[in-house]
Symmetry: C2
Subunit: 349 residues, 2 copies
Amino acid sequence: MKHGGDILTYKHLFDGEIIDFSSNINPLGPPSILKDKLIDGLNNLVIYPDIKYRLLKEEIAKYLGCSIDEVILGNGAVDIINTFSLMFNRVIVFKPCFSEYIDRPKILGKEVIVLETNKEFNVEEDLISRNVSSGDLVILGNPNNPTGKRIKANVVLKIYEMIEEKGAFLLLDEAFFEFCPADYDSIKLFSGRKNLCVIRAATKFFGLPGIRLGYAFTNCEISKTYNELSIPWNINTYAEIAGRCILSDTNYIIESREYIDSQRKFMFSKLKEIENIQIFDSDANFILIKLLEHDEDFVFNFLIKRGILIRKASSFEGLDKTYIRIAVKDHENNLKLLKYLKECLVWKA
Amino acid sequence: MKHGGDILTYKHLFDGEIIDFSSNINPLGPPSILKDKLIDGLNNLVIYPDIKYRLLKEEIAKYLGCSIDEVILGNGAVDIINTFSLMFNRVIVFKPCFSEYIDRPKILGKEVIVLETNKEFNVEEDLISRNVSSGDLVILGNPNNPTGKRIKANVVLKIYEMIEEKGAFLLLDEAFFEFCPADYDSIKLFSGRKNLCVIRAATKFFGLPGIRLGYAFTNCEISKTYNELSIPWNINTYAEIAGRCILSDTNYIIESREYIDSQRKFMFSKLKEIENIQIFDSDANFILIKLLEHDEDFVFNFLIKRGILIRKASSFEGLDKTYIRIAVKDHENNLKLLKYLKECLVWKA
């Protein structure tokens, strides 16, 4: 189980619709304005998307508060991670993290150094100063997947400065950015800094994993190299249409953030009532749980038989079979998960 | 002008809708059964596409007449070319050819050997025996872009055998396959052969450049390596939906092939009446033209002012500014192009 969302593999285990807590998608679904735009878009499939994606980049630049030349695009955030892996010879990551930070560079023949986080899964800065060399690519999830930890503004700034001083490059993966408390915006924080790329994506927050639209902010020079490495037309027409309309839907953005925030708080309060688990604080729309008396297979099997798919977390380097990850979904489904989780965890393994 | 279809760049030169003869898309548009399926598909955007694309591969395997394990997928055919470029250290191509055969491996740091074709743009087999070494990747367009030349069955078989004997690999790009006379099917021809991949695509024949769906036939071992190298979810939900419904639309396939065949014949007969050009035989839905008295800029500028976008061909290595490429479109638009082309070419430069 390397990725969440793989419903098809488990379909035969439950007679009915499976509720997917294994992938972390906005439970409110995509902005409602999108539907008509996509139906209109059916007429555009017969022409190539603009090879330079000028109008799409314009909208993203407006949303991110940067210039068009600083915007890069990917077939999902993972495409951006892949292309950056091509650009550097050595990659530094901290475990546990999204598996593709390790897998993509390895598959592309690059050296990958996997460093430890501390007991609370925080990145310790002195590990950066001791391990990062000139020309390295450091990849950090912010908030990190699967831990849900967001790095504080002063810490991420300090980390960046250490990386810059070494002559290395920071790839900050913020695919879950909009779910977080609006305490700081990395793109504003790092304005004018050169050795950095901040990834965002339509996938999670805008509820569009099927459409494959990742985008990022980086400096114009890196952006040029990136565009050369990217295959032509890497963004499909639907992703182009979606990107041009969803980002200006401010009401949807505020409503989603508030909804997830309230549901996350609700989940935490209820999870705390459950025995035999340790919960990790999260700024994202998912929660990492350590099982103190069972293992992931036991809980997974119990829940899938009741139509609930969760994420076993042992496939994350740095975690073992005592961890699971659950999404924060809509209230009704969250209640369902909590009910079954409670039932499951009072059982003795 | 590295690729066709870039309408946005030339929009300001004509007040009205530009007719695109620079990209080679089926003028009948996508199969009509697709529309409803795509509208239904709007509900699927909130879930990830199947990471293994099991149902899509099943349909493609049925269409190609091979097993599911022999099917690979790409974000357009160019994604497949890119991923194969990663797998080999040296690439051999014949000019003129689709620019990405040269650009993708170069950008990925691979050595590219560009060999000459003969006066009729045919591949001479002894060049293969003299230049190909063990471990090389040979890429051939069949039919080739921009020439429209399809390699005869016995010749392509002989070429493959020379490549196999050398311990090299043949990547046969058949993105325009369905437009060709149904004289032979490479996938049947090469059944059981190991050192080969045959690319097909939804882009051109099924009129779907916006949806980004390329697929190919190769042996199970290569297919495994390819799947590892590919980024997860490289095919978006719409491409998945399209791929699952268009390939079984036999009526559409027959009708499109017959229509293009008749229009290609019509275009040839009319182009022959125009002075000062040399036309190259084509098996595809595009025609390469050598200008005997003008250059590409002159003809391009004349036509764009009249709302017609053609492909200047000097960006193809091996061609100079005396070549243009035009698509075979629907009868009405073809007539329009012929009319203006006639007007243009009787002018003295």
